[in-house]
Symmetry: C5
Subunit: 304 residues, 5 copies
């Protein structure tokens, strides 16, 4: 894999930010040293085995072996692979240096429901340093009845990131019974709030979902908004401020063209990139690599 | 911006207080080095994006970009801008030294209701030192069923402030189901109690709301008091003792004259200043700067 | 104010106790260096603003300004003033060295009810050392459903007191739904248990209330006891063992003679002293000083 | 009091155990340096004032003064006295070196019921070292719904004991609503389980109650067992493995002969000794000393 | 006991893993230095006394004495014995070096039900180092409503293992009301999820149960799967990735041949070994040794 030491814009995505040395170096590696290397990001996530169980792998049993995702991350030239300490420790050895690691620090099963969701950490920023990661990932359940636990524990991780110069990617996920009562986790209301929370809490990068239209249960003014998908996407990108936004792929979409249309739309609406998991690794390996390369082609049209 | 190294009263607002070196220096900077610089305070807060979501910005979308508030703080010559670590880290670079920072350490979303409100910290006093802040802000939900968590965590922050010489601005907010059962968060009963709590807990500055008249649900003797707004304001200022009181602006008021009447009234009743957010940054930029300057003019009549 | 370096009994109230150096020195200062200076204690408490709100000050608005209590403590020649870190830091400067400080470390509002009362700390024993205090005060809600939190947190404070040579005054307050179900917080049953708890937990001094007769809801053998007030007082003093007992004044009593009869009775029944707040500072200043001096006269008849 | 530096068996009760230096020295002092000094233990406990309140002392008011128990421990030649930090600090001075101390670290009142019992610590193993104790005592409420708190906090104490060479005496008390639903705290089922828990958790000595026969609510196979008291006692001693078992005396038994029969039975069934409180100190002083000496005589027949 | 310093495959079970020095050395000792010594594992667990009470020992009272299991572990040439700190400290002395120790760090009683199961630690990785253990054991209740506590505490232990080079054996046990609502703890759904959780959380070895067929309450796609036992076993082994799988023996099976058929099946399906407790130590000693040797014979056919 050929690496560019810098994107064509010379690192402009970082130019407005005041960053500690280590954090700047690591973000630069993610944005300009790997993947599209033009200030955009293509991250391959693999935390579904913990979050949803092996169920998610049934459509493509080969993906149960984490080698699949590591090989895909390398051959599909992703900016990074995002996974937990167990998978990283067992599989990084042959891939270290070939694809950056976003170490996902927290997670939970989906066996209990999400009415009072909390995502506990089972790894630390020091683990990330030890494993040579270029960022950590951390889920915050925005609006959960136990948001005090979520925010407090997040705050400790954020300070560790600051201390160790580690970029922080926040999975800002609206969750819990109050979110459901206000229209659900996928609405513009919920995603827009999540974007702002990530900004206020000090994320470097935020992972969001494509916001759906708000139903009658959503609070005003969202309930009365009648914006199209592009307007909604631009809105949440704007609400994230200077935090770089990655949109999630969500459940698998079989139609490659549809996936690529999504990517293009997200980038046109101001996203820094995408974090597509199942839409990548639930495809046959060659199909996934091919799709990744077509995503690359799109990303190259949106240098930052 | 011209800075006075000292107000005309030579720092008299601080003269009765026994303060650690660092805390005295920082308070002096806030009171006499910036803003009206005469011992009064005009603080521009921006934590509504976390506390209420992007909803608050709909009337003035330009305000979603934190540059708006930083520019307003500088051009409107505020004593300080008060916001969280995420906004500070992403936007301070160009403003450091031009406007003091009050780093707000805790916060939450309003998605769950406030029956058992707790405000968790996601930043620390050490973050404030690192970012060059001149004070920290901390919300205490007075009277919440979970007041033990609120007070205990506050106590740790207070001790860190002492250790690091950092002034502590307390958002003393009555909150929770018991407050509602006793007449609500906005009553004189609730605000008066909050003022005293801030004093007992060791705040340097307290942010309060203009106290409303008590309804039948309020406890005696408040329920039977028939005091006008000025008397109520003076009462809460008195209950705060030597803690400097800032009154909040609350929801946006379109009528500039009404806003200015409020400011004058608050100052006449003994406030040290105001912390107006939406009443500032939901105006067009020029209108906001102009309003800020008229607030300045009022403040100059109340040197301390 | 004239100080005796030692009471007429040469410190005999301490002679049976095995105390660390710092603790002995500080207790000696409280018992023989200030106030009656004969081994008895007259403490002026001021935590009602936090515990009950400004309501308590309505009968004497002058008392809202903590200067009132500091001046009263000095002119009434109290053994110590007991208050929290906020009031101490804002008002001690002019009084340091003139009246000893008991720094009250924990407290809460009375807005939520006391069914599951917990008293969180917002200051530390190190704060007390920094402020030159001669003791710390700490509330333990005896018998609360959350007694595990109460006792555990108390234990940490106790060890800090041991480490730093700081005497520990325990406000031993029966509280919570189970106390109410067993006759209430004011009964002999409840106060007697509280006295013993203070002894077992390692208090140096305990603040108790005058025990009332037990109603039918109290457990045996208390329910069937028919003891007069003096017998009840002696009983709780005995249950406190070698812990010095201070009786509280409770709600304000207008009749000076009645107050003085209480003091005499408490001392005759073995108390080391009294901790009267509202019965002191809700009087006009001169009346309060005069009452304090008459209390002094009584105390002088009970050297220890 | 004459001390033997070693029992007639040369410390054989310890010979099978692999112990850290300090722990071996302290256990040796308890087993062979004091009391019967033959490998058996007679411990005088005094935590009832905290656990039950002053109620327990009504039959013998003299016992309210902890001097009573200290004198009894010395004159009755007990192996140790077991009490909390408050009583130890106020009364040890004249007895240090004359009777070993087991410092009881945790406890609670019985004002709330025991449905979710937790016993919080208010002293530490470091306190025990400072006070010259030869062991610490710690209550574990076996089977409480909050057993996770109980076990976790116990674990920290255990590690501190290991670090400081301090023997650990566990009050293994079945407690909580589930214990009651399964036949109650006093059954063989409950005591047998408690014995095993003490062994698994790493106690050096365990305090148990004489196990009663199981009722219909007990789980199988206990419910169907029809064992006599001696068989039940032997069973729980066996379940405790190499942990030394002390049986509790429970509520006061007026008949001396009955008490002595109990002691003999316990020793015959394999106990290392007894921990009798109320059955000792609720007797007149001389009667208690005399009873203690008769217990001594029994113990001498069971050297270990 | 003859020891091979290395299995015939030269440690190939470890060859794909990137391990810290100490962890590699200890795993090598377990896999190639003891027991079958060919990369497979036969572990003898003894935590049932804590988890289930002495009840489990009724069929073979001799097993109540932990010497039984230690002797069995040595004479049956097990790879390791797995037990808690209490049993280890009291019994290891004569066996240290003869059989490796897996120190089980957490546990609880089964007196409260498992609706909200949590397994608290009562020992630490430092205890394991002090006792010369070659691994620690840790239970994680997968899917419990209190999974946040489970995962967070696990995470701290995992990091300690990393720091001290200690292999981590996870008892991955589906548990809690939501697991029961989704078909129960023994189903393929539950075991398969548990296997993946162990992998994601970073276990080195995982203990699982033989997965049963899913009932109608299980989620899809499990509910509709119709796989035989071998397919189910292979599936969970695959879901565990590079984590070595040990299958549990569960309740005692009297038929030796049936036990051996299980072992063979497990090994054929990819297990690294077995952790059989009651199926070993509830047999007469000689029968247990003989069974262990026949298990050995099977293991030798599955070198890794």
């Amino acid at each position: 894999m050929k690496r560019k030491s810098q994107g064509r814009n010379g690192g402009s995505a970082l130019s407005s930010l005041s960053l500690a040395h280590g954090k700047r170096a690591r973000l630069h590696r993610l944005l300009y040293g790997h993947g599209p290397a033009n200030g955009t990001l293509m991250v391959l996530p693999l935390d579904q085995g913990l979050e949803h169980g092996p169920t998610d792998f049934f459509p493509n049993p080969a993906a149960l072996d984490t080698e699949f995702q590591f090989r895909l991350a390398v051959e599909g030239r992703f900016s990074a692979i995002a996974l937990g300490v167990g998978l990283a420790e067992k599989h990084m050895r042959d891939y270290a240096g070939r694809v950056p690691l976003v170490l996902k620090l927290n997670g939970k099963t989906n066996i209990p429901d999400d009415a009072e969701a909390v995502s506990p950490a089972f790894a630390s920023v020091e683990d990330a340093v030890r494993l040579g990661a270029d960022a950590v990932g951390y889920t915050v359940y925005v609006g959960s009845p136990r948001q005090d636990v979520e925010i407090r524990e997040y705050g400790v991780v954020r300070q560790e990131c600051e201390r160790l110069g580690m970029p922080l990617v926040v999975w800002a996920y609206p969750r819990g019974r109050d979110v459901e009562a206000k229209g659900g986790r996928g609405t513009l209301f919920a995603q827009d709030y999540a974007a702002r929370v990530a900004e206020e809490l000090g994320a470097d990068v935020v992972k969001l979902h494509e916001p759906a239209e708000d139903p009658g249960a959503s609070p005003e003014p969202y309930r009365s908004l009648r914006e199209g998908v592009a307007a909604r996407l631009r809105r949440v990108v704007r609400s994230a401020g200077r935090v770089m936004v990655l949109f999630s792929g969500g459940a698998k979409q079989d139609d490659d063209a549809a996936v690529l249309r999504k990517v293009r739309l997200y980038m046109e609406c101001g996203a820094t990139g995408v974090m597509f998991g199942r839409n990548m690794w639930l495809r046959d390996f060659e199909a996934a690599v091919s799709l990744a390369r077509r995503v690359h082609a799109i990303m190259h049209r949106f240098p930052r």
